[in-house]
């Protein structure tokens, strides 16, 4: 009982310390605020968007930014600001769902690989090597083409290609943790392998998982934008930032703003995830801190 309390204290103070370190890191906090702001925008989209993002109005064809339309209108007279606001929903969904799938697969395969060793380990390591050997974007494109272009298939494609990095990371962590005394103790007490992995080992890998998932979300959002730009992701009329630029590029010469704002939205979002990911790495892994 006593020991358990001690343990808890140590673990909460680790997270407390980490949070303190994170809060001191100004850039990381900027990243956090960008992501929180984006979430608020995505959730409140129907209330804060000035127009219906799907509403076609040919009288307002390709208007430059003005008081009525702060970021201008597209070739269907739709309000670009409203479409960008609703586009935040698409991007965040991709970040959370696709990266969630990738992280889950990565943690599962990485744990199995590191804990059991033997032929399973060989097989999984070889599989990660194969995935790393593919040029990433082309591989995702090939999968999306096989499954058919749609947002759901982007989730799947990013999920089944994105796990390799997490798996490699977790495998390394587990290889070192499984020899530790507390795991040996759990084993001596007769804990099952599943229990040891998910109750004792994985919780000690939470920090690297959080870091790689945060950076991975930015990556997933970028991948979706790229696929949608090529016409392989979100299908019209869904307001995805990537596909907005795909349509906008035909009007680049005269209407820069149409391409500019959706791209700016992508950059700010991915920037936010990268800032937070970098900051988390410094905060959660004090050994790396210079």
């Amino acid at each position: 009982m006593n020991r358990e309390m001690d343990n808890k204290e140590i673990s909460t103070s680790y997270w407390k310390d980490a949070f303190k370190r994170l809060r001191k890191n100004k850039l990381a906090m900027v990243g956090l605020y960008i992501i929180l702001g984006l979430m608020v925008i995505a959730i409140l989209a129907p209330w804060i968007a000035p127009y219906d993002p799907y509403e076609v109005n040919y009288d307002e064809y390709l208007k430059p930014p003005s008081l009525r339309h702060p970021l201008g209108t597209d070739e269907f007279g739709r309000d670009i600001l409203s479409r960008i606001i609703f586009g935040a929903r698409v991007s965040l969904q991709v970040g959370i769902i696709a990266e969630g799938i990738a992280t889950a697969i990565g943690v599962l395969l990485g744990s199995i690989s590191g804990y059991y060793g033997g032929w399973v380990d060989h097989l999984i390591v070889e599989l990660t090597n194969i995935i790393f050997a593919f040029p990433f974007l082309l591989f995702v494109i090939a999968i999306v083409v096989s499954l058919g272009p749609s947002l759901t298939n982007v989730f799947i494609a990013v999920g089944i290609t994105g796990w390799a990095g997490t798996a490699r990371l977790i495998r390394g962590q587990i290889l070192s943790l499984k020899e530790s005394e507390y795991v040996e103790a759990a084993r001596a007490l007769g804990a099952s392998n599943t229990r040891i992995i998910f109750k004792h080992i994985v919780p000690n890998c939470i920090a690297p998982i959080i870091i790689s998932a945060t950076l991975g979300m930015g990556g997933a959002i970028m991948t979706e934008a790229s696929l949608s730009f090529l016409g392989l992701g979100a299908q019209p009329p869904i307001p995805s930032w990537g596909s907005m630029i795909d349509y906008a590029k035909d009007f680049l010469r005269t209407n820069l703003w149409y391409s500019f704002f959706p791209g700016l939205a992508i950059m700010i979002t991915v920037f936010g995830f990268n800032l937070l990911g970098d900051g988390l790495r410094d905060a959660l892994d004090p050994r790396l801190k210079v």
Binding site: I130, I141, A142, S226, L230, L232, K249, R253, M267, F271
Partner: protein, 306 residues
């Protein structure tokens, strides 16, 4: 050293077979009958059945797989549905354009990345350090197709200094090379900075300073050598990924490389060409990385004995 190279070469074999297998399966599950795509609206059912038989599409999966594997190993990547010409020569004819763009953007990236990285590290926590690392992170976060479009608008449409897109002399190369170089430049800057900082904390640097060497000599001779090992690896890895085709950059700048070829093939549903480009670029990527690893072992003797 020879043993190390041979071992590394042997290790690529299962990876390459795995890549061939995945590429095969991907195209096998693609919806739509390839013969229909090939014939368009023209084919009557009998002709289609005949062609299916000729192409071996009715054979069981394992038979088709081993035939595919055998063909690939003989260098036969199949024929394009669009042109009915062999796929591999077409890919090889596009490779020089991809190579040119990759080398040019690598040049841009190394000049910017190395300079920014070294200056940041030697002036750690300065304004320059802070701002260049923020800019580097923004460079990593900006979508390459968007950077490309902005460059086009500024230097092509507005200033009129450079051609918007297409393939020709050096002037056509500049914009795509910059657009494609932004991400690796940012990455190289970050890696150079962190490895430089790590080297600067080593004992031998303290020794060099303690014996009274001028700071410039300590940084540009003593520290630089060990930083370069890391930096060269990063350069090599970035080059490897650039060589495997810049799908997005080549698409927006109408650059006739492998990336553009693969996107065109995807749009035309030319499955053998898609398969061929994916396979080809993956193999290029593996060998480029292999060369990086070997040269790394060559530069840093500690690696060889692991």
């Amino acid at each position: 050293m020879i043993n190390y190279i041979i071992r590394r070469l042997l290790l690529t074999i299962p990876t390459i077979i795995g890549i061939i297998t995945i590429t095969f399966l991907l195209m096998y599950v693609v919806p739509g009958d390839p013969v229909r795509i090939l014939m368009g609206q023209r084919g009557d059912p009998e002709t289609i059945a005949m062609i299916r038989k000729q192409m071996g599409l009715d054979d069981p999966l394992p038979v088709q797989y081993f035939r595919f594997l055998g063909n690939i190993l003989r260098g036969d990547f199949g024929r394009s549905y669009a042109t009915n010409r062999p796929v591999l020569p077409e890919i090889l004819s596009r490779f020089p354009a991809t190579l040119k763009l990759a080398l040019a953007s690598m040049l841009v990236a190394s000049i910017i990345g190395l300079t920014a990285g070294i200056v940041s590290a030697t002036k750690q926590y300065s304004f320059f350090d802070y701002s260049s690392m923020v800019v580097a992170l923004m460079g990593v976060s900006a979508p390459v197709f968007w950077v490309g479009l902005l460059l086009m608008w500024i230097f092509g449409y507005t200033l009129g200094w450079l051609p918007i897109s297409g393939y020709g002399g050096v002037s056509y190369l500049i914009l795509p090379a910059i657009a494609l170089g932004v991400r690796p430049a940012a990455y190289i800057a970050r890696m150079t900075r962190s490895s430089f900082l790590e080297v600067l904390r080593q004992d031998y640097i303290r020794t060099a300073r303690a014996k009274g060497l001028p700071e410039r000599r300590v940084i540009y001779v003593h520290a630089m050598r060990n930083t370069l090992i890391t930096v060269i690896t990063v350069l090599g890895m970035e080059l490897a990924s650039l060589l495997s085709g810049a799908v997005l950059t080549e698409t927006i700048f109408a650059w006739p490389g492998i990336g553009r070829l693969s996107v065109d093939a995807i749009i035309k549903r030319d499955h053998p060409m898609v398969q061929g480009t994916v396979l080809f670029t993956a193999i290029i990527f593996i060998f480029a990385n292999l060369i990086v690893d070997i040269s790394y072992a060559f530069l840093d003797p500690r690696i060889r004995y692991e």
